[in-house]
Symmetry: C2
Subunit: 408 residues, 2 copies
């Protein structure tokens, strides 16, 4: 019988969010009258701004006509979209990124899951703990780990705990690592890395000739203009960092699927022969062989996100979600809970009361208040004792949820 990829059997349970969905579905089936408020998965609730919707409809109409049909999308993405990205996300902030260093994709989940493929199996991988599960699971599937222990920590990975003691900013590893996944603003803790913190990591990566895989999917939630939104705003990053960006949380494209990855030309890896190889060349080969581009109408919608009206639509939505976060911070604090995050990120990282474990508190909130969070333990061992609450919901739902928690 055909042999399977045995590494899959190391994976703990299901992927986190399907597991939560299963528990919520079971609860809803048992309590059909319950009004469940979902603050679990980080999914937007506000409609996509009109400029993006109109651009997309116009592009869809073009697809109906022989003379304006767009077939297979260009490999790395439409020129018009990559030009807009360069101008607004990088040039405008004084950052050097070239159009041909950008690869448009169907989202940061796919990119951050796939990026490990261009590296050797024996790379030492460093992850923050807690961590977005895709970074971890994709490396487990690729065989870069041993089995998991009872906390869900895999042998062979270097975990960097992010706790209240270090303000949820990871300390540098004591030894050498090859690949470092960083996410700022952070999912799940909501912590944001300062310029100094990023500079320390870039210095470490340069010294150790490591590569930083920097997930900036939540950059638009940074409210302090002095904080960097791209790792390339910090000197030396082009030689050591790949960056992931997304249209999901700013433009509300969770249901449209668009993001991009930046692979600077300076980035190098080493072959077994000793030869230096451009990582850009490897990623270009991966992207053109195993991916076939993003729908033209979606790319048109993404480009419209950079128009003045598109930017205004994004700013309004970001402000709305961050007002939610502020209300949540205030109310949860008033209810006696210890809360982190929610200032430069749409996530609140709530310490579970009375030392409850996080799945117990998840079940408790679901059962008693009909509120869905995300158990911190689902993000890693150091997430134990926390619950992530998302600010992505309608105002009345946020207020209702806070009211219910206050009454508990």
């Amino acid at each position: 019988m055909v042999h399977i990829n045995d590494h899959y059997l190391k994976l703990k349970a299901g992927y986190l969010f399907p597991e939560i969905a299963r528990r919520v579905d079971a609860f809803a089936a048992a309590h059909p009258q319950a009004d469940v408020i979902r603050l679990g998965i980080g999914d937007v609730v506000k409609g996509i701004p009109r400029p993006m919707v109109d651009a997309m409809k116009e592009a869809v109409e073009e697809m109906a006509h022989d003379d304006t049909l767009q077939g297979y999308p260009p490999d790395q993405g439409q020129d018009f979209l990559r030009a807009a990205i360069v101008e607004h996300d990088f040039d405008a902030r004084g950052v050097q990124v070239h159009s041909d260093e950008i690869f448009v994709s169907d989202g940061s989940k796919c990119d951050s899951g796939a990026v490990q493929e261009i590296f050797a199996d024996d790379c030492v991988v460093a992850l923050t703990d807690p961590v977005y599960p895709v970074y971890c699971d994709s490396n487990v599937m690729a065989g870069r780990t041993g089995p998991a222990d009872e906390h869900g920590s895999y042998a062979g990975l270097v975990y960097m705990p992010c706790t209240a003691a270090n303000d949820f900013i990871p300390d540098l590893p004591a030894g050498h690592v090859d690949l470092i996944y960083l996410c700022s603003p952070n999912n799940p803790t909501g912590a944001v890395m300062t310029r100094d913190a990023l500079a320390r990591w870039i210095e470490y990566a340069r010294r150790e000739q490591a590569v930083i895989l920097f997930d900036a999917a939540y950059e638009s939630y940074i409210t302090d203009p002095a904080l960097p939104r791209s790792i390339y705003e910090v000197e030396g990053a082009r030689e050591v960092a790949i960056e992931f960006r997304s249209f999901s949380k700013n433009a509300g494209f969770t249901g449209l699927r668009c993001g991009y990855i930046v692979v600077p030309k300076e980035l190098k890896g080493r072959a077994a022969s000793g030869e230096e190889v451009d990582l850009h060349r490897l990623w270009a080969r991966r992207h053109s062989t195993k991916f076939n581009g993003v729908a033209y109408p979606v790319q048109r919608a993404a480009a419209a996100a950079y128009s003045p009206a598109g930017q205004q639509g994004i700013a309004e939505r970001v402000a709305f979600y961050m007002e939610n976060a502020a209300i949540m911070r205030q109310q949860l604090g008033a209810a006696g809970l210890t809360v982190y995050g929610g200032e430069h990120a749409p996530y609140l990282w709530v310490a579970t009361p009375d030392g409850q474990d996080s799945w117990t508190y998840f079940d408790y909130l679901l059962d008693k208040a009909h509120i869905v969070g995300t158990p911190g333990a689902g993000f890693g061992a150091a997430g134990e004792g926390y619950l992530r609450l998302s600010a992505f919901n309608h105002r009345d739902r946020i207020e209702e949820a806070m009211e219910r928690i206050s009454q508990l």
Copy 2:
């Protein structure tokens, strides 16, 4: 310095189509007046039928409003789309496929590149020669091969030559293999597998406990109703076959990106421990961890492809491209060329005249007739001596191209 995935360095040149694009761009730059006719890449030219376009625009408008916004797509695809797939692609042909065995994706290229991830590194992979390069390259990248020889054949892969001598239908391997990629109607040869041919392969796979990876992306071009359109129309396939389907070539979605993969529940693999494992479970984990679904408006458009008006639009386009193919077969034959395919597939497989090698003939046609084909050698060693011509073009362009070839 970080170690790269050395297997990438085994890959021959670029992925085939970018390589062709580079040559055509160079020619066009040197001959700006030349009227180049592209019969290379198999990309549609007729606009997407109105029912799909209208459904998509309606769905895009829903995305603008809080109360109808669709966020993250459901893991395996929208229920309404999977129900339509089951009803029209399988139930209507008396085939048993369940909705939860269908995984909606962004296209067959992505699926056929990713499917190998759930299998062990030591699986023996069998490929037809010539072959769609993604099946091959994705296994090279994963390390299931040694280096390539001067013909581009990789050590460790089992090649099954498809030649005029066997009517381009692969013979069964002499020994054991674990994974078998089959594509029917075939890209690039245009050959189609009969029920008997598929039954032989299913029998082989059952005997050898192998898995067939069956690419049916071109099934709508089958003109003989007696020929199977799905491998599951042939008895015993559910225990041994995964099938890929696409909306690209029937509904014209090359620029929208939608397809699906069928993983029957009966399919098993074996873990190193000896345990039997459902391949469905493994693929579900891969799909939910490394992919994040297809845009809701694209899924609405795909569902509309199954409406009576959508089906009519598809039938008209398929008929149009197959009329092109018939014209090409007739004219190329009249010009003294030996031509295969083009009867149940939109591809013609043309023997190069006078024993020219296929890249030479490619350059010759580009230079003398300003026509772009695809060199057979790009699909494998047994493709040497052939050129693939695509019937995907406007009628006047097809006629002009045939006229130019006749005059050569």
